[in-house]
């Protein structure tokens, strides 16, 4: 039992060693990436020991190290909560990160600042670990902000490109809006419950918790790219592919879902927030699946796929199944990271070509990548007994048999079939058919770094679902009996999506391009959401402020109201009233003639 705490702390400290080494000459060395990768793999292996101890004995632990400060009546200390969630997530995250670091040793090989890249990846990993092992909200917030900052630095890695800078800034802004919710929850907990420790919050919360839970939901919306704060996730694909694989598929974007899972004892009691969560997740999963159907950039399709799966996780929380959502987080990490790595392999082989309309025929040219792409897509769509099946199918079954919102359920099913549709689209355009890329190519997948990393995640995608779901302690009882049509619902809609997408793609292959219909434009332009939000709102406020400052104050109140209006009025009324032409001499002359004539006539009248 003593090994638990020391192993975990050792694993965490092992991760920080390469960061400490940056001030030495190891950092300038060409072998620094190898050192970082080895540190991560050793940390993974060491953290498997506490994980297996936890699986065997079910023992949880809180390590409370260092008393930080006491703010009047609240004591803040650095404490690590090693319970079910963090014990299983830490090895999974370390495994995926190990593979991604090995992959990025191949992908970023020609980058002159590769050492800094690895340092950033490692700092991201450390802050993510802080986030998942935090026992109080302050430490969680440190991790939360840390992953946000590292996301900014990594998305804008190629900072010479304006799109990358815009995307990084967009990520920060949208995350910030979510942070407002987080801080609102923290403030509420501080004021009403005098605690930021999770144990004390769960013990002493017994009145209306709508406000802080809504704040946490807002934080999850920002960090996990739910509908309303979602445009940053597809824009974040401007970063290098390892960054997309690590941050924006497996690790950072699940931080929002992880936060809601951490607070599940509070959310169990509050049906309002559960309904809100369910509807938000359902809308997100459908909307992003619709947007993914017509994208042409392979990374964007996978990004929207991530967003859709995140919506599915939020739906799971909404039907009060936090453990299932957590299982989906762990299994999703494997195949989504692998999908990103395969697309990175394709992109690099085709000399930085990301448009799927210019790929094709890679089935015979990149066999290993093809294999892993197909297996990853099948795992994503929930093919029976691959990894995704153990979490996704359970989620759909539980949603089908629970007393919940029928509309949200239907939307989730439609989104599931769309998952199959866009996965088919990726496979069809990237792998099948004749090549559509330029002949001068450098298709090569011989590098052992690439092969080994994808192979590890491939084994994970196939077996990890079985291994994890049969090893964990049983939590909520899954629904065992249900009618046939409900049991087969997920599989049926997935097969429907596959067949439909395949038939459509095959049929449309030889036809002439018709001009885009309204639905196509809606889907391709992401539902017009970025266009409206990023352009209309700032333009309106700038327009209003400019008009009120210059037109309203200067032109109208200072110039037009009295001076110019009086002048204008006088002029108009004088033109209206006068019908003379200004022939003064004539008027005077006629006046004189009249007077002379009248005087002379009067003279003779007597």
């Amino acid at each position: 039992m003593n090994m638990f705490a020391s192993c975990m702390i050792t694993a965490l400290i092992l991760l920080t060693l390469p960061i400490i080494m940056t001030s030495t000459k190891l950092y300038k060395d060409k072998l620094y990436p190898y050192y970082v990768k080895t540190a991560t793999s050793h940390a993974f292996m060491i953290s498997m020991i506490p994980a297996m101890m936890f699986i065997y004995s079910g023992q949880e632990m809180v390590i409370s190290n260092w008393h930080w400060m006491t703010i009047q009546t609240m004591k803040l200390s650095m404490s690590f909560k090693l319970d079910y969630f963090s014990m299983i997530f830490v090895p999974v995250a370390l495994f995926v990160t190990w593979s991604i670091m090995e992959f990025s040793m191949w992908y970023m090989h020609s980058d002159p600042y590769i050492n800094r890249f690895f340092k950033y990846l490692l700092m991201f990993l450390i802050t993510m670990m802080i986030l998942v092992t935090a026992n109080n909200m302050f430490q969680l917030f440190i991790g939360w902000e840390g992953v946000g900052i590292m996301s900014f630095l990594l998305i804008g890695w190629w900072y010479g490109r304006t799109d990358a800078n815009t995307a990084a800034l967009q990520a920060i802004l949208y995350n910030r809006i979510g942070d407002v919710g987080f801080i609102m929850a923290m403030a509420w907990f501080l004021l009403h419950l005098n605690a930021w420790d999770l144990q004390q919050i769960f013990m002493s919360a017994n009145d209306n918790l709508n406000l802080p839970l809504f704040g946490l939901l807002l934080a999850a919306t920002g960090k996990s790219a739910q509908f309303g704060l979602h445009p940053w996730l597809p824009s974040a694909m401007e970063g290098p592919t390892p960054v997309s694989a690590l941050l924006h598929s497996s690790t950072m974007v699940v931080a929002g879902v992880f936060l809601l899972i951490r607070f599940h004892p509070l959310m169990e009691q509050n049906p309002t927030i559960q309904t809100l969560t369910l509807c938000l997740g359902a809308v997100t999963t459908l909307f992003t699946a619709i947007c993914a159907l017509t994208q042409n950039d392979i990374k964007k399709i996978v990004a929207f796929s991530t967003s859709s799966q995140l919506g599915l996780m939020i739906v799971t929380i909404g039907i009060n199944q936090p453990y299932l959502a957590f299982l989906h987080i762990c299994t999703h990490a494997f195949f989504k990271a692998m999908l990103f790595m395969c697309s990175g392999s394709i992109i690099h082989s085709l000399n930085d070509e990301q448009d799927i309309r210019k790929m094709g025929g890679l089935f015979k040219a990149l066999p290993f990548t093809t294999t892993s792409l197909i297996i990853g897509s099948l795992a994503l769509t929930g093919m029976p007994f691959l990894t995704g099946f153990y979490s996704k199918d359970l989620i759909i079954e539980t949603a089908n048999t629970s007393n919940t919102n029928a509309w949200a359920l239907l939307i989730t099913l439609i989104a599931t079939s769309m998952t199959a549709a866009y996965s088919t689209r990726i496979l069809f355009f990237a792998l099948l058919g004749q090549p559509r890329f330029t002949p001068i190519i450098s298709i090569n997948e011989n590098n052992p770094y690439l092969i080994n990393s994808i192979k590890r995640l491939l084994l994970g995608s196939v077996f990890a679902g079985y291994v994890i779901s049969h090893s964990i302690t049983p939590t909520t009882i899954p629904q065992m009996t249900m009618p046939h049509h409900l049991k087969m619902a997920a599989l049926a809609v997935t097969i429907l999506g596959f067949i439909l997408a395949l038939e459509l793609n095959l049929t449309m292959q030889g036809l002439k391009f018709n001009h885009s219909s309204h639905y196509f434009k809606f889907s391709n332009l992401l539902g017009y959401y970025p266009t409206i939000m990023h352009r209309l709102a700032p333009k309106t406020s700038l327009f209003m402020s400019q008009k009120s400052a210059s037109m309203l104050l200067d032109h109208i109140w200072l110039e037009s109201v009295l001076p110019k209006s009086i002048a204008f009025f006088q002029m108009k009324s004088s033109t209206l009233v006068s019908n003379q032409k200004g022939l003064i001499k004539l008027y005077f002359f006629s006046f004189m003639i009249t007077m002379a004539l009248s005087l002379s006539i009067l003279n003779y009248h007597v």
Partner: protein
Amino acid sequence: MSMVYINIFLAFILSLMGMLVYRSHLMSSLLCLEGMMLSLFVMMSVTILNNHLTLASMMPIVLLVFAACEAALGLSLLVMVSNTYGTDHVQNLNLLQC
């Protein structure tokens, strides 16, 4: 009606004719207007002084004040026209369009 009155009345009629019939300068009309005022002033003063209408003695002063105001108004109009056209030729006044 004695000769004095006819004389002054004739001066008035002459200025009136001068004001109503002028050829090119607006200034001549204004000058004749002043002439009319002057003759009216003299006639009024002579009548009042000859017939001892004591209580009406302030009337020439009042007439002078009003004449001054009206002369100022006329001059301001002249200055306006002169600012726009440079001269005060009457043929300019036909082009005023407002």
